[in-house]
């Protein structure tokens, strides 16, 4: 039985439909990441699970029990807020102890649990300080500590790393993953950062305008995106898209005419009629210099040398931006034409409605 189950979940604010019928099953111990652009409804969905937003329609069940009308404290969840929501007038100890004080637990039990959480989060030397004296990462840990002491069934994280700088973010990302391993609890994590989603999740839920675009493991989403939205959202730099028209399809291959770039024949069994508009997708990291099943010539506008990688930015004859990512430091420079190639089996194909064609 799944630990969290969402059925036909809907949320409207007045006339605006924010969440449009979400169905999702989360198993015990899973690390699930809700990812999507700003305004896609991911935070609203999390707040609905937490009990901070009412459900307009549908059902939320935790541990098999419908919790739509239960207050947050009775749902067995603990939430870590984007702003950490630490009480500025209380010490770190009292911040972590807050939920236990609400429960009116005896002092000895409070101390035991707070000290245990502080040890896990390396906050022991900071227990008597106030949040104003802590760094961003330490505040984050205090917020997590406050969630841990409640020993919840499900942890909810609302963009917890978005206020940290890049270096601290990757450090905290690893700490959170280790914490997940240690506690073995179910964690639901909201982010707009696809790198966070890819590195942390067991299961990613990609949201787009209040609906689920695709659910899958990070590598499933990377290798087999269901649609243009997921293909464009997952991966950095994002996937290159080239507009084309089907020139022929015989049940085993589809030939796509890409205008001045030529025609590419892809192994596909789907039935697609000739003349249909399609989009060809190729990830920047799947491009190679000068070789491949298909080659095209471009002139880089900008070249970025990162040492470990080199990134080139150019524009295709059709006006589309085209990015290439190469390992190491190959000999490319801006305004000097280069020939790029790629393998046929690395190419993605999407129909006129943006759905993947396999």
């Amino acid at each position: 039985m799944s630990q969290l189950s969402l059925k036909h979940l809907e949320k409207s604010f007045n006339e605006a439909r924010i969440i449009k019928g979400i169905d999702l099953e989360v198993s015990h111990g899973e690390f699930v990441v809700f990812v999507g652009p700003s305004g896609c409804g991911k935070s609203t969905l999390l707040r609905m699970i937490a009990g901070l937003e009412d459900v307009t329609e549908g059902e939320i069940a935790i541990g098999g029990k419908v919790v739509n009308d239960l207050p947050p404290v009775q749902r067995g969840i603990a939430m870590v807020f984007q702003s950490y929501a630490l009480y500025p007038h209380m010490t770190v100890y009292e911040n972590i102890a807050f939920p236990l004080r609400v429960e009116k637990l005896p002092n000895a039990e409070v101390e035991k649990r707070v000290m245990a959480a502080a040890k896990v989060l390396q906050l022991e030397p900071r227990l008597q300080h106030r949040p104003g004296m802590l760094s961003g990462g330490q505040r984050q840990r205090v917020a997590i500590g406050r969630a841990i002491v409640r020993q919840p069934e499900i942890f909810l994280f609302d963009e917890p790393l978005s206020n940290l700088d890049a270096a601290l973010r990757s450090e905290m990302r690893i700490e959170l993953m280790e914490l997940h391993k240690r506690l073995g609890s179910t964690m639901i994590y909201v982010t707009h950062d696809q790198v966070e989603a890819m590195t942390m999740a067991d299961k990613i839920v990609v949201l787009d305008a209040g609906t689920i675009s695709q659910i899958g493991s990070p590598l499933q989403l990377y290798h087999k995106p269901d649609n243009l939205f997921v293909a464009g959202f997952i991966g950095s730099p994002k996937m290159n898209f080239i507009a084309g028209t089907v020139s022929s399809a015989d049940g085993t291959t589809i030939a796509v005419d890409m205008g001045k770039l030529g025609t590419i024949t892809l192994p596909r069994s789907a039935k697609v009629g000739a003349g249909q508009a399609v989009t060809v997708g190729i990830r920047p990291e799947h491009l190679q210099l000068g070789e491949g099943d298909f080659t095209l010539s471009i002139t880089p506008r900008i070249v970025e040398h990162l040492g470990i990688h080199t990134v080139i930015y150019s524009t295709l004859p059709g006006g589309e931006n085209f990015i290439g990512l190469f390992e190491g430091d190959p000999k490319v420079s801006d305004e000097a034409p280069v020939t790029l190639g790629f393998a046929r089996d690395q190419v993605h194909l999407f129909d006129g409605a943006g759905q993947a064609v396999y």
Partner: protein, 295 residues
């Protein structure tokens, strides 16, 4: 070096009008009052230096101590009621209730109505024969006959406090509401997620985070109430039998009624000393609060 000097000259030039204003409006009258308090100035063209005689007289007379105690009691109840009612009002106006904007607007009239008109209105309401309060109490059978609230010492004392509270509450409410709204919403959401009820959230989050605002408002209200002349003067002129005579009324009566400017000045200086002590206590408390937060 030159740029530092020109910067400080520029700062001085900007400060100059305010400095001149403070010197003329605040410093000079204050200094003059202190000088006057050591003289026997009255409605005569000249006056003599009398040393501490005015202070000896006012503290020796006996009734001044009584006036001081009455002023403190009057001020304490008035400020305490303003703070409590203001806080309740702010909590209600901050709650997501239907017609919230209307209620916010309805808080304002005591503040918008010119003070003298508001006080006269209360004077009429307290009237025994024509007053609304006496009439209503009689209609509901709560009193046997008309009650002239301002005619008896103890009722007049409380009647003036009620009017002062009525006038002072809107400002306290709006100030507290603003302070309340500056507390991040997610603190409450986090507490609610942890199971904290409404009162628990108010006690452990709202109240401590509003402490600086409560302190500031208490001091401002304390000074204004301590120096409040118009309400008591219009309603009772300090009567009956001095039962509503506070230090400021006493000073005004001495200086302007009896034309004893020297003695009146001495009484004003005592008020000034009390207000200065309030300010010192306030600044100490604020410093302690900010040190506590920095720890």
């Amino acid at each position: 070096m030159t740029s530092t000097r020109s910067a400080s000259l520029f700062a001085l030039a900007l400060l100059a009008p305010a400095l001149v204003y403070i010197l003329i409006i605040v410093a000079y009258p204050l200094f003059d009052t202190i000088v006057l308090s050591f003289t026997n100035a009255a409605l005569r063209p000249t006056y003599d230096w009398v040393g501490w005689a005015n202070y000896e007289r006012i503290f020796g007379a006996g009734n001044f101590t009584e006036v001081i105690i009455r002023t403190f009691i009057w001020t304490f109840f008035s400020v305490a009621l303003k703070m409590i009612i203001g806080m309740c009002g702010a909590v209600l106006l901050n709650a997501a209730i239907p017609g919230q904007t209307l209620f916010r607007v309805l808080t304002m009239p005591p503040w918008i109505v010119p003070m003298a008109i508001g006080i006269f209105m209360w004077g009429w309401m307290y009237n025994g024969q024509f007053g609304m309060i006496s009439g209503l109490l009689q209609n509901f059978g709560l009193t046997n006959g008309p009650v002239a609230w301002l005619a008896y010492g103890h009722t007049a004392f409380w009647a003036t406090i009620v009017t002062d509270v009525w006038i002072g509450v809107p400002m306290v409410t709006i100030y507290f509401l603003a302070a309340m709204q500056s507390i991040p919403k997610d603190l409450y959401e986090a507490a609610w997620t942890d199971g904290a009820g409404r009162f628990y959230r108010w006690r452990r989050i709202t109240l401590p985070l509003m402490l600086p605002a409560i302190l500031t408002m208490s001091l401002l209200s304390l000074i204004a109430t301590f120096n409040s002349l118009d309400i008591i003067w219009i309603l009772t002129q300090g009567g009956p039998s001095g039962s509503t005579t506070t230090m400021i009324i006493d000073t005004y009566k001495t200086a302007m009624g009896s034309r004893k400017y020297g003695e009146g000045a001495a009484r004003a200086v005592v008020i000034c000393i009390f207000v200065s002590i309030f300010c010192l206590v306030y600044f100490r408390a604020v410093r302690k609060l900010s040190q506590g937060e920095a720890k």
